[in-house]
Amino acid sequence: MTPIASLHNATVGYPDAPLMTDFSFSLYPGEFVALVGPNGSGKTTIMKSLLGVLPLIAGSREMLGLTNPANSELAGQIAYIPQKMSLNRSVPLTVGEFFSLKSRGRYDHEDLARALKMVELTGLQNQSIHQLSGGQLQRVFMGFALLGKPKLICLDEATEGMDIKAQKTFYALLKNIVEQNRASLLLISHDISAVTEHANRVVCINRTILYDGDPSSPQFHSCLHRIYGEDSHIHDHRTSH
């Protein structure tokens, strides 16, 4: 199968402080991949490099069949859902105005209403995005991503600070999107139990790939023990409530 996104023999990080060298990684259509690892392990750097936000120091990036494309060539086909805390609160913005920024205003009111319905936020277009709850805000980001019918969605600790109920809604919506659009998901999370429950592939890194495979495998658990210590254990959401 042809990967939807890849890094080949990449050196990632900053030119005066490269984080990983000769790094290769591929993501295939329909996959829900979780990147896990301790702070400073390189998860965000890999995601930013894959998204073209951080230029590669060496190696190549393939995205939707294009080698080292500019993001303007991919607009709408890749999407990014950042942490809610990273939003600049100085900019007054309603949900509708935020959506109108997508692809330089290419989408009309019907597209906006459809995207809001998909993320279960119908009627909130005139609401200030700064007055939304954490869960609602992440769904706004998701709706923004969905306006472009993305083939790849990258989420950087997107469920950080959400309560269990909001997380469940969020993950259920994500799974629907993957199934409906055959999109691939790349998720960074520290919530190992959620990762184990929802992802179908997990990549455990600590400046190199330590494990790449099934999240229910014992090898993944031993990898976690190696990086977080022998005392760590996984709390399973599926059995706890």
Binding site: V53, N71, E73, Y80, N88, V91, L93, T94, R104
Partner: protein, 266 residues
């Protein structure tokens, strides 16, 4: 006497300059506040004393030295910010005070140096020339054209730079263009209001507007209206009270900001 003054050609010309400056600052101001560029504006305006002093010594029009200098300094400061310098505010302060001090030193070698320094620091919109007015209009047109064409990109990169980059917004190009235009806008305003007061017209209108608006559109419209009201109202008050125009405009701005904060609190 006051009526005569208010209808005199030089006040009329100053009013046109105030109107343009208020409009320009009201429009650019929200981007200034969203992107936290107030200190950047202060650095550009205060550092301008060096090129103004050089122009004075060389007996050439200020604009000839001032605009290339401000553009160059804007690009340099943007480059420093791009390199992720952790103590950026301290670096800005070094340029801010160092270049201002250098300007004062250079002026001390010219005849009437200290009085000229005071004039450049505090400005006088009533002394605005036809050429200054045309320059201000040209920069205002350039800023409006750029803002209209790139508005969505500029807002998205202010909301979240990385999200904008993923969406295909040429963030780096916009940052340099925006900083260059902001540098030019600050420079135009400092010719009217003086180096010390220039940023007040940039920052006060969007800050007042932010307290009463929660949509992008209303914030920008309110900022433009407040900018025009602050600059023209301050100027008229200065004429009526026979006070220095730049400081009067800045004090009017601060008073409006305090009053609006109190109204919002109640």
């Amino acid at each position: 006497m006051t009526i005569e003054l208010l209808t005199s050609p030089f006040v009329w010309q100053a009013l046109q300059a105030a109107l343009l400056a208020g409009f320009l600052c009201g429009l650019v101001g929200p981007l200034f506040v969203w992107r936290r560029l107030a200190l950047f504006g202060n650095a550009i305006s205060h550092a301008s004393l060096t090129p103004i002093a050089l122009a004075q010594i060389a007996a050439v029009p200020f604009a000839v030295v001032l605009f290339p200098f401000s553009l160059g300094l804007s690009m340099l400061l943007t480059k420093i910010e791009e390199r992720g310098f952790p103590e950026l505010d301290s670096v800005l302060s070094i340029f801010f005070s160092g270049l201002m001090a250098l300007g004062i030193l250079i002026l001390s070698f010219s005849e009437g140096g200290s009085s000229e320094a005071v004039h450049f620091l505090f400005g006088d919109i009533l002394l605005v020339s036809r050429a200054d007015l045309m320059l201000l209009a040209a920069v205002a047109v350039a800023v409006v054209v750029y803002a209209v064409i790139s508005w969505r990109d500029l807002v998205l990169m202010s909301v979240h730079a990385e999200l904008a980059a993923v969406e295909g917004v040429p963030v780096r190009r916009h940052v340099y263009l925006l900083m260059g235009l902001c540098g030019l806008a600050v420079t135009c305003v400092l010719l009217l209001m003086g180096a010390i007061l220039a940023t007040s017209l940039m920052v006060v209108p969007p800050m007042i507007a932010r307290g009463f608006t929660h949509t992008l559109k209303s914030h920008v419209i309110a900022s433009v209206l407040i900018g025009v009201a602050m600059s023209t109202g301050g100027l008229l008050l200065a004429v009526v009270l026979d006070t220095a125009s730049g400081p009067t405009i800045a004090v009017v701005g601060m008073t409006l900001f305090i009053a609006s904060s109190l109204i919002r609190k109640n």
